[in-house]
């Protein structure tokens, strides 16, 4: 359609017809949104966060609206890697875009076993979610300390035959050092950011809203911080970076690409507007035309 503007990008050797990717956990396996529009128009889709074994997720309240955003504590409810390979992949394949499996884990062994299984399956890329609590280190997430993250990425890299994206947590002690550690350990690309650890209190009950006390903040509220982190990381790493965090509009997409991102993910915006994926895509082509951009790749990292 918009052959006057080139929106196609490449991430770690994988071609995307446009830079928009549905973010993990906000888009299921694509099916539900496919009832509303052809989700194959997106560059790619990240599966909901998988773990080696099926998980029921957290009890209690799981989603909570906040000023310009929301918090979630879904707790990685998912059918497990095996069920995903058996049925989820075929479901996602019919959309015809880049299929990214997002996987988390609670131990090094789980990450490695899951990555081994997914490497033998028909996915296009693996996105490693290192924001999960590590049972061995008292529940501290793998994505907080660079040394811990480096170790898990190195171990996964050894068994992973698919292009490997490592998804960074903004709660990392130092996001740039974290990015460099993951690059060193063999990541083909980085995606950032996951949700910010946050809290809400129900004053009437005098209790935290979430059973786990803290939960992840996403949406427009985090965008300026996410943008700063993407910018800082892009200045330091050589691997491509996928920008995530509060991206709602085509303007937001251009900001992240100007900050250096190769592609972007849309998460929370899908809840505000279930057609966001398609609408942002349409707007992006028009915006580029208005701004005199003929190839989206020409503005990458201009800031």
């Amino acid at each position: 359609m918009d052959n006057d503007v080139n929106l196609s990008v490449e991430v770690a050797g994988v071609p995307f017809k446009n830079p928009l990717i549905a973010a993990s956990g906000t888009f299921g396996f694509g099916e539900e949104y496919h009832e509303l529009y052809d989700v194959g128009c997106l560059g790619g889709i990240c599966s909901k966060g998988l773990t080696l074994h099926p998980k029921d997720g957290n009890d209690g309240i799981r989603v909570w609206e906040t000023a310009s955003g929301m918090m979630n504590s879904v707790g990685l409810q998912n059918p497990g890697v095996e069920a995903f390979i058996e049925t989820g992949i075929a479901q996602m394949r019919r959309f015809g875009n880049v299929l990214i499996a997002n996987m988390g884990g609670h131990s090094m062994e789980d990450y490695v076993t899951g990555a081994t299984m997914l490497s033998a399956s028909d996915i296009d890329m693996l996105e490693l979610n290192i924001s999960c609590p590590n049972v061995k280190s008292g529940g501290m997430a793998f994505g907080i300390k660079a040394e811990v993250a480096e170790e898990v990425v190195r171990a996964v890299r050894k068994v992973c035959t698919k292009p490997l994206i490592v998804k960074l947590s903004p709660n990392a002690e130092n996001i740039v050092e974290m990015a460099l550690a993951c690059e060193r350990a063999g990541a083909d690309a980085l995606s950032l950011v996951n949700t910010f650890q946050a809290m809400a209190i129900d004053i009437r009950k005098r209790k935290p809203v979430f059973n786990n006390v803290y939960a992840g903040l996403s949406g427009a509220a985090i965008k300026p911080i996410a943008l700063r982190m993407v910018h800082a990381v892009c200045k330091q790493v050589r691997v491509p970076v996928i920008g995530i965090g509060g991206i709602y509009t085509a303007e937001d997409v251009l900001e992240f690409i100007m900050a250096g991102a190769a592609a972007v993910q849309l998460g929370t915006v899908n809840f505000n507007n279930p057609l966001a994926g398609r609408e942002v895509l349409d707007d992006l082509a028009q915006l580029c035309r208005r701004e005199g951009i003929t190839d989206i790749n020409e503005i990458r990292g201009v800031c």
Binding site: E32, G57, A220, F271
Partner: protein, 245 residues
């Protein structure tokens, strides 16, 4: 399920905090017990709000809502001609086709309006419908039930209108083939327990906080006897015997 733009034709306050909005939109595909995700804002609020269908007519939908927070307050500002976004119909609704004989609808508070379309559908299917409507103090929507119900029972907590006490005090489940309930969880638990005692089939319509409303985010999952279920997609209506409360 579709994402539609509707036009508000009526938005009226009917009690201190209850409003009714009539929305013209096409197509109207809602079944009894289903809901829509609504928003009358752009990104000022992140999430859409789940509100049940009160009445479905050709070319328009009615919703009855209680103003409890920012989202419903914003909705109460809507005026004739304003646009409103609707995502739906969402959820399974009551299995009206499978229901025969005599039915009790037991509603409490804003759980009452969602039963209105159900009363109509069941009555038109030849089912005998009795309504048990429990209010805090002020009544609403009573006249909307009248055309479809054989008997109606009303209660208020302090006895301003009808029976003084809880609506469950009036219910005799053994008189019915099926009981459908929607309202506060304490009330529905009581109804479910009463039905269980008499081996009467009972369906409950649950509330849960939602983000997507269509089954994608797992923000509304509950534990049931047959595993994790999404209130927005697998529900909101569940057999009481499936629930683990």
């Amino acid at each position: 399920m579709k994402y539609l733009v509707g036009e508000v034709s009526v938005n009226q306050q009917i009690t201190d905090d209850i409003w009714v909005v009539r929305v013209s939109c096409e197509p109207v595909e809602a079944k009894a017990g289903q809901f829509y995700m609504l928003k009358s804002w752009d990104t000022e609020q992140t999430l859409m709000r789940p509100i049940s269908v009160f009445k479905a007519e050709e070319g328009c939908l009615w919703f009855m809502y209680r103003v409890v927070g920012q989202g419903t307050r914003r909705m109460s500002f809507l005026e004739k001609g304003d646009a409103i976004r609707l995502l739906g119909p969402c959820g399974n609704g009551y299995p009206c086709e499978q229901i025969k004989g005599r039915v009790a609808l037991v509603g409490g508070g804003v759980g009452i309006p969602p039963l209105c379309e159900t009363a109509k559908t069941l009555q038109r299917n030849g089912v005998t419908v009795d309504a048990y409507l429990g209010y805090r103090d002020v009544l609403f929507a009573v006249e909307d039930f009248e055309p479809w119900c054989t008997d109606m029972f009303i209660s208020t907590e302090k006895g301003e209108e009808g029976y003084k006490g809880f609506i469950t005090d009036l219910l005799k489940p053994e008189q019915y083939d099926v009981v459908l309930t929607c309202g506060p969880e304490v009330m529905m638990r009581k109804v479910a327990a009463m039905c269980a005692e008499h081996d009467v089939t009972c369906y409950c319509s649950l509330e849960h906080r939602m983000a997507c409303g269509i089954g994608a985010c797992l923000g509304c999952s509950i534990r049931t006897k047959s595993g994790m279920k999404r209130v927005c997609k697998d529900g909101p209506v569940f057999l009481s015997t499936e629930l683990m409360w």
